[in-house]
């Protein structure tokens, strides 16, 4: 093979060509392009979007990723790169035609946007507690370092709030309105009092389950105090547990429930509506499942479809960051008797009167 000719022939230095790196770096690492790196630095954290009904969570996540990439790639391109080459040129002020090597900068097209392509081609966006296709509501997403915070949020086992709309009079196989009809019944005998009684029974039974699954020995003073203040909840896997349920509106055949629960799936909530119908000696299907709160993200924090772009998401992350840090620290800290009890999990029955409130007016914690 060819030996480097320069080193053997020249007495002194060697000739080197500084070739630009030919490695292809198509990563999401920040490049020194105007908006790109600065934009990426502000894009680390958690934010919430409002998932509309009929949209799969995966498609939503992909749409958000595309919009973020569009925003990041819109930054101004980098300054044109130059390379240093040693070129032959005549020495100035010399009579003869002597040629020496001089170092010159020549423009290079290596980092031209049309040659290199887009600076950002993929971005990892994580999803928190998922919502199925028919459900809607607050969906927490994490980008960059926020994906690690998603795990922390999951481990904090916070409760979520749902509004569930049901219709009396029919039963279907998948508990939704458009499923295969199984049964039709009358519902004239159903009153609000009957409904409230059944909801109270449900809440009571789930209260017992809360204590069981939280693996606490109720004989201790600490556990007793926790139980009294009502903050017991399981901090590991458990079946769906309802920490609070009440009826907001009742206009037969339709009714609106507010459910505060944990470790749930939306299908289980629809099954709950079906079972409430059965308990009322009638039948019911669920027409709407909507999440109004996920941990400490509420409807006000959720971004609508028109706001799924880079600047709005960056602002949302910045706005939520202090609250996220504080809440996660509080939730993951062990609760001692003298301290203020950790927030989520308090039933609101004991706190406020059960008057007719609007669906969004309750901001649980």
């Amino acid at each position: 093979m060819a030996a480097p000719i320069g080193s053997t022939i020249f007495g002194g230095g060697t000739i080197q060509h500084f070739r630009p790196s030919s490695a292809v770096q198509r990563t999401e690492a920040a490049r020194a392009s105007g908006m790109g790196s600065a934009g990426l630095a502000r894009l680390q954290g958690l934010f919430a979007v409002y998932k509309p009904p009929g949209l799969k969570w995966k498609h939503l996540r992909d749409t958000v990723e595309l919009q973020l990439l569009k925003g990041l790639n819109a930054g101004k391109p980098p300054a044109p790169q130059q390379r240093v080459r040693f070129l032959l040129g005549p020495v100035e002020g010399s009579e003869e035609k002597e040629l020496t090597l001089t170092a010159t900068r020549v423009p290079s097209l290596i980092d031209h946007p049309l040659v290199r392509g887009l600076a950002f081609t993929s971005l990892k966006v994580g999803v928190g507690h998922r919502l199925d296709s028919q459900a809607s509501g607050v969906l927490v997403l994490g980008v960059g370092h926020g994906r690690g915070l998603l795990t922390d949020m999951y481990n904090a086992h916070l409760t979520k709030n749902y509004t569930v709309r049901g219709v009396l009079g029919k039963a279907t196989d998948d508990f939704c309105e458009d499923g295969r009809l199984v049964e039709k019944t009358t519902y004239d005998h159903v009153t609000r009092e009957k409904l409230n009684r059944i909801l109270a029974v449900i809440q009571g039974s789930h209260q017992k389950a809360l204590v069981t699954y939280s693996n606490l020995d109720l004989q201790t003073q600490e556990a007793y105090e926790m139980a009294v203040s009502g903050v017991i909840r399981p901090m590991n896997k458990s079946p769906m547990l309802i920490t609070g349920i009440r009826c907001l509106q009742f206009a037969p055949p339709e009714f609106l429930l507010e459910v505060q629960c944990m470790h749930e799936t939306q299908k289980q909530l629809r099954r709950l509506v079906h079972e409430i119908g059965l308990e009322l000696k009638s039948t019911a299907v669920c027409t709407q499942v909507r999440r109004t709160r996920d941990g400490f993200f509420t409807l006000d924090d959720a971004l609508l479809r028109t706001q799924w772009d880079l600047p709005s998401i960056q602002d949302a992350i910045q706005a939520a960051a202090p609250r996220v840090a504080a809440e996660l620290k509080k939730s993951l800290r062990p609760w001692l008797g003298t301290q203020e009890p950790p927030g989520p999990g308090q039933p609101w029955d004991s706190e406020r009167p059960r008057s007719a409130l609007g669906p969004e007016s309750h901001v649980g914690h």
Partner: protein, 430 residues
């Protein structure tokens, strides 16, 4: 392993024009295959010489994502021409040129003693010229003139490695061609590397400019239809002449080629068949078909099956009459190539949930061109406010066209008579 590469060189000289190369490339089953790259300046003693090279077999990549160069390694050296200015186009790698005599590229200052390819490889040349050892001392002047740069990578997945060394690629980038997209197709990338700007590409560009395509539009067009370089210029001229014979004006043809870059890659028979198909299927007059095709030229380049299916969907599933379909198509040609599932879902919602009859839908076909969620959200908001009235005979009528095409601010203000904040709050209750 040194062996004489005499036979290979002669064979290589047979592969001449870029067209032949591309045809051969297209016909081969393997997606990336390149014959030898030659970067050489041949010299005679006492400047520098080069000995026999090592010829590596052309490597074939089965994954098909490599630009492969069968390479010839030499103890290379290149003579700098001091008269030429130092710019980055010095080391030209030009595969098409490389198969020809290097004397084409040689500057006039070279001594006429520099042998051509043939004589160097002839047997008597090898006998007369003993190989020069690298340990032989040479004068300082000659030493300064030797440039021993690192060789270009023989194969690469990207054109970035070659763009500074190829005049063709540099000029294409300055024209606006997106090389990062073309390098995803190894055949195209190899073709571009082997073409010569002056000889092959310039003719094509001049032809496109004659058609009426602006300089700024050449880049995107070539990015999409890079195969146009392997087309015969005569064929392209025939196709343009055919279109002109069908009474398409020059401006129209330029617009069509801009919007459908692959148009000129279709043969005259194919274009004729397609125009005939649209005329028969849609039962439109010649002028209306022409206008339709000018507005959406990708009808001529796309597949015809979706169009046939969509026509059946309109007639049988959605229940429109032929004249209604004609009216809608002339207003929104995109409906012919729309997704039929989305068409049926949209129509199902508009007709059954919003209770809009056929004749009103025909008058505003724009609903078929919008996303369904937009129609749903706005209709539900209007229904919540009690303003969902789509019957033209009654007061407070809201046309479907306006419903879907105006932006949110105007919709809320003019039709819903509410604020955008109210609309957002409503959306969060859905």
């Amino acid at each position: 392993m040194l062996f004489c590469s005499l036979g290979r060189a002669t064979l290589r000289k047979m592969a001449l024009s870029a067209q032949q190369i591309s045809r051969w490339l297209n016909s081969s089953k393997l997606s990336s295959f390149m014959t030898a790259l030659q970067l050489r300046r041949r010299f005679q003693r006492p400047e520098t010489t080069l000995s026999c090279g090592v010829f590596a077999q052309p490597r074939v990549s089965s994954e098909g994502c490599f630009l492969q160069w069968g390479f010839r390694t030499y103890r290379t050296s290149s003579l700098w021409n001091s008269s030429k200015s130092a710019d980055s186009s010095r080391q030209e790698i030009n595969c098409a040129q490389s198969t020809l005599l290097p004397s084409v590229n040689e500057p006039s200052q070279r001594t006429p003693k520099i042998p051509s390819l043939d004589s160097e490889l002839s047997l008597e040349g090898l006998d007369d010229v003993p190989p020069l050892s690298p340990l032989q001392p040479i004068s300082d002047d000659e030493a300064v003139q030797i440039i021993a740069g690192p060789p270009l990578p023989p194969s690469s997945v990207t054109l970035r490695d070659y763009v500074d060394h190829s005049e063709t690629l540099r000029k294409l980038v300055l024209l606006g061609v997106d090389l990062s997209k073309i390098e995803k197709h190894p055949d195209a990338a190899n073709l571009l590397l082997r073409l010569d700007f002056e000889r092959d590409i310039k003719q094509m560009l001049l032809f496109l400019k004659d058609l009426g395509i602006e300089d700024t539009q050449l880049g995107p067009l070539l990015t999409k239809n890079y195969a146009i370089f392997s087309e015969d210029l005569e064929n392209l001229k025939t196709r343009v002449a055919y279109l002109q014979s069908k009474n398409f004006s020059k401006v129209d043809i330029a617009q069509m080629v801009r919007n459908a870059p692959f148009l000129l890659s279709f043969s005259v028979e194919r274009l004729d068949n397609r125009l005939g198909f649209f005329q028969k299927e849609l039962e439109l007059s010649v002028k209306k078909t022409r206008d339709l095709v000018i507005r959406l030229p990708r009808l001529l380049t796309g597949s015809l099956e979706p169009v046939k299916e969509n026509m059946k969907v309109f007639r049988l599933e959605l229940g429109f009459q032929q004249n209604e379909i004609q009216h809608m198509i002339t207003k929104i040609p995109k409906m012919l190539t729309a997704n039929k599932r989305k068409l049926t879902e949209t129509f199902d919602y508009v007709h059954n949930v919003m209770c809009v009859p056929h004749r009103v839908v025909v008058r505003s076909p724009q609903v078929f061109n919008t996303r369904l969620f937009k129609v749903k959200e706005r209709h539900l908001f209007l229904a919540y406010l009690g303003r969902a009235q789509y019957d033209p005979t009654k007061p407070n009528y809201i046309s479907l066209d306006n419903l879907v095409s105006v932006p949110d601010g105007i919709f809320c203000e003019a039709m819903a008579k509410a604020s955008v904040r109210d609309f957002e709050k409503f959306l969060k209750t859905l």
